[in-house]
Homo-oligomer: 251 residues x 4
Amino acid sequence: MTQLRVTVWGENVHEQTSKAVGAIYPTGMHTTIADALNQDARIKARTATLQETDHGLTDTVLADTDVLTWWGHAAHGKVDDKIVDRVQKRVLEGMGLIVLHSGHHSKIFKRLMGTSCDLLWREAGERERVWVCNPGHAITQGLPPQFVLEHEEMYGEPFGIPNPDEVLLIGWFQGGEVFRSGVTYRRGAGKIFYFQPGHETYPTYHEPLVQQILRNAVLWAKPEGVFKTGCQHISADKAPEPITASGASVH
Amino acid sequence: MTQLRVTVWGENVHEQTSKAVGAIYPTGMHTTIADALNQDARIKARTATLQETDHGLTDTVLADTDVLTWWGHAAHGKVDDKIVDRVQKRVLEGMGLIVLHSGHHSKIFKRLMGTSCDLLWREAGERERVWVCNPGHAITQGLPPQFVLEHEEMYGEPFGIPNPDEVLLIGWFQGGEVFRSGVTYRRGAGKIFYFQPGHETYPTYHEPLVQQILRNAVLWAKPEGVFKTGCQHISADKAPEPITASGASVH
Amino acid sequence: MTQLRVTVWGENVHEQTSKAVGAIYPTGMHTTIADALNQDARIKARTATLQETDHGLTDTVLADTDVLTWWGHAAHGKVDDKIVDRVQKRVLEGMGLIVLHSGHHSKIFKRLMGTSCDLLWREAGERERVWVCNPGHAITQGLPPQFVLEHEEMYGEPFGIPNPDEVLLIGWFQGGEVFRSGVTYRRGAGKIFYFQPGHETYPTYHEPLVQQILRNAVLWAKPEGVFKTGCQHISADKAPEPITASGASVH
Amino acid sequence: MTQLRVTVWGENVHEQTSKAVGAIYPTGMHTTIADALNQDARIKARTATLQETDHGLTDTVLADTDVLTWWGHAAHGKVDDKIVDRVQKRVLEGMGLIVLHSGHHSKIFKRLMGTSCDLLWREAGERERVWVCNPGHAITQGLPPQFVLEHEEMYGEPFGIPNPDEVLLIGWFQGGEVFRSGVTYRRGAGKIFYFQPGHETYPTYHEPLVQQILRNAVLWAKPEGVFKTGCQHISADKAPEPITASGASVH
C-alpha cells in the first residue's frame, strides 16, 4: 500500500518562547500533530518548521508531499513570499492543504482565499462546542453529532472568507459567539480544509476527536490528479476545427 | 437620483504603441467603455489609467468609486502592489469590480481569486458565439439567447478560476474551444464579474450587446453595504454571554 | 415609483386554534408580517392563506407577485401539489421566495431544495443570538453584529439543505446548538432566502430587527429577469452554424 | 478488497422498440454500461430496468448499492413516485448517483435539483467536442484536454440546473451551441454527477473515453458516510447546556 505523504508545518515559535505552550507541546505542536496522523497506517507524516532552510519546504520536499498541514501565528510575516508562491503553485497543481486555527491569517491561506480572513477573537479559555453539519462527509466520519473543547480561543463571525464549498463544522462558544469552524474549498486541483480549533495554550491537538478530524482531513485532501499551471498558446493551424487566421495582432 | 460612480481603468498601452489598436480606439479603450456606460443615466463613469499618479487610483478616487472596471494586458507587472492592496481592500469592503478580457491575468484578479487564472489562447480573429446560461439574471437582461462576435481572441478551458458563484455566459469558438465567458463572485462585500470578450485588435467594445452587458454588470455590482476589514478583539468582560476568563496566554 | 408586489402567505392555523398564538398575532402572523413590510414605501404587501381558494395563490395572484413569503407548520400536507407546482414554476421563472421558520419543511421549500431540510429542534423558549456573517450584504443592512431573541425555538445542525450560495446568519442557542439561520439560493431566475426565527408562540415577527431583515430580504429577492421553463427544439436548419443532419432517430 | 457495488439502471424501452438502437445496444444500454464499469476490478456492477418489479430498485437492492447510474428518456413518467422517493432518500443518506444524458428530465434528477432541468436540443448527428475544465479532478483522470464524439445529440444552454459544485466538462457542438456536460453536486451525504453524452441512436457508451469517465464517476461518487434523514427532537432536559424551558407551546 502506498502511504499518503503528509508534511506537517509548524511555526514553532510559541513552543520555544512560552513556558505554557512548551509544557503542553514539549516537542512542538507539529510533532504532536504528526504523531496523531501517523496513528493511521495509511499516512506517513513528517514535519517542517519555519526555522529550517526554506522553512523546510524545498522543492524536493513539496514534490514529495501529498498533503501539507499549516499552523502559524506569531510569525506569519517571517514566511518568505517565495515559499508562499511555491506552496500556492503546488496546491493549485494538486497538493492538499489543511490550514489550522491561527493559520487563518497565514500568507498562504490569505493568498488562496483572496479575502481578509479576518474574524472576532477572545482568549479566555471558554468552552466550545463543535457541531457537525454533514455527518455523511469524509472529514466528519467517526464524530458524534457534537463534541466539547473545554478550553478554546473564541473565533467569531463574521469570518472574512469566500463562501465555502461546504460548511462541515460550526462552533458554539460559551461567551455567545459562533464560527464556521470547518470549511472546504477546491482551488485548481488542490483540496483545502480550514479547521478552527487549536489555540497554542490549550491541549487541543491532544484531543482524540480533533486528531480524528485531522486524519480524516488529510485523507480527504489526497490529490486526485494534476492541473498544471501555465497558459497554453494554440496556434491557428493547431485549432481543433479548421480556421483561417485573420485580423491584426499586437504580438 | 444618485448616480452610480464608476471608474473605468485602462492600461492604455496598446492604444499608444499599436496603430491597429489606435485606429479602433483613438481615445483609448477606457474612453470607449466609459462612454458606453454613460449612455445609461443611472451611471456616471470616469476614467483612470496606468500612467497617472497612483495609476489614477488614489484613496480619494477609490473612496468615490462604487464600481471599478479593469482592462490590462501588456503591463500587468507595472501595476504597483500597493495599489493592488488598496483596490483589493476596497473590493472586500464593498466596491464592485468588473474584470475584462486579458484582465484575467491582472494582479488584482489573481489576488482576489487566489488561483492561476490561466487559460488556452489563440489570436486568429475567429468567430465567437456567446451563450446566455441564465436569461433571468441582472447581467444578461436585454440579451438574445446568444450573440456573435465575428472576431475575437480565443480563450479556452481549462480556465484556472475557483468555481464561480454563477456561470452566466459560455463562449463557443469557431476553432473548437469553449470558455466560461461570464462568471460572478462575491468576495467580502464586493461583487465581481469577469467578462471574456474584448481583445484590443478587434472592435469588441463598440458592439451594442457588449456595451449592454457592461452597463448591466456595473449596475449589478453596485455596493450593497460595507464589510470592514480588520480583526476585532472582544475582551472577556465584553462577551455577549457572561464568562470568566481562564487559562494561559502568550499575549 | 413602481412598488414591489409582495404576497405574504400564512398557513393561519395556529392563530385560530391556539389561544397563545392568537394572543400574539390576533389578526394572524401573515397580517403582522405584511404590516411590517408595508412600513417601507417601496413595498406593497398583501396576504394569502391556506383556507382561501387555491390557498389564495391563483395564477392571477402569482402573476401579480414579485416576491412571495411563506410561513407554514401544522398543515404542510394540506397544501395542494398543484399549487406547489405553480409556485415552483413562478420561482424558477423569476419570482423571489422568502421561506420562514417552520417553512423549512413546507412542500415548496423541500421541492426547491431537493433535500430533506431536516434539523434538530426544541421548543423551550430559550435565548437565541443571531450573528451576521456578511455585514456587507443587502439582507443584513441595518443590523448590528448580532442581536438577541429572548425566546425562540431551537433549530439545530445538521440542517439538511444543499450548500447555500451564501450563509448570511448563524444562530447561537442558549441550550448549546447552532444553526445556519439565514441562507440564500438562486434557482432558475428566482432568488430564495430562508430565515429561521419565527416560532408561533413567541412574538418574533414583532421584533424591529426581524422586521428589518424581512424588508431587506424581499427587496433583495426582487426579480431581475425572466427564465422561461420549457425545453426548446432547434431544428438542424436553424442551427447557428450550418450543419447537415445525419444518423438515426427514435422520434 | 471490497468492491464498489454499482447498480446500472436502464429504462430499456428504445432498445426494444427501435431497430437502430437495438443494433447498437443488442443487450441494452444498461448491459453495455455495466460491462464497461466491470472492466475495473474495484467495481462490481449489475443492472436493473424499468420493467422489473419496483423497476428493479427494491429496498434490498438499494441497500446493497453504493452508486446508482440512471439512463431514461421515453418513459420518465412511468417511473413510480414511490421508487423516486426511495432513491432520493438513499442518495441523501449517502448513495452516489450518476445521471446520464436524457436522464436530465428523469423524476429523480428533477427531484434532487429542484429546478426545471430544461435545455435546448437537436438530434442531427453532429460533432461534439467535450472539454475538460479541471484536469486535476477524480472524474477527469485519464482524459486528454478534449475529445470528440463524431455523432451526438446537441444539448444546449441555458441548462435549468442549480449552480453546480463543479463544472468539470463543457461540450462544444458543431451547430454552434455549448453545454455544461459534466457537473457535480452534493445533496445530503450523496454525491451526484450529471454527464450529458449518451444519445440512444449513437454508439456513445461504446467509446473508451466515455467508459473511462463512467468508471471515474462511480468511483468518485463512492459513499463517504451516512446522513440519516429525519428531524430529531432534543428535549429541554437533554440540551447540551443547562436551560429551563419557558413559554407556551402548541404541541
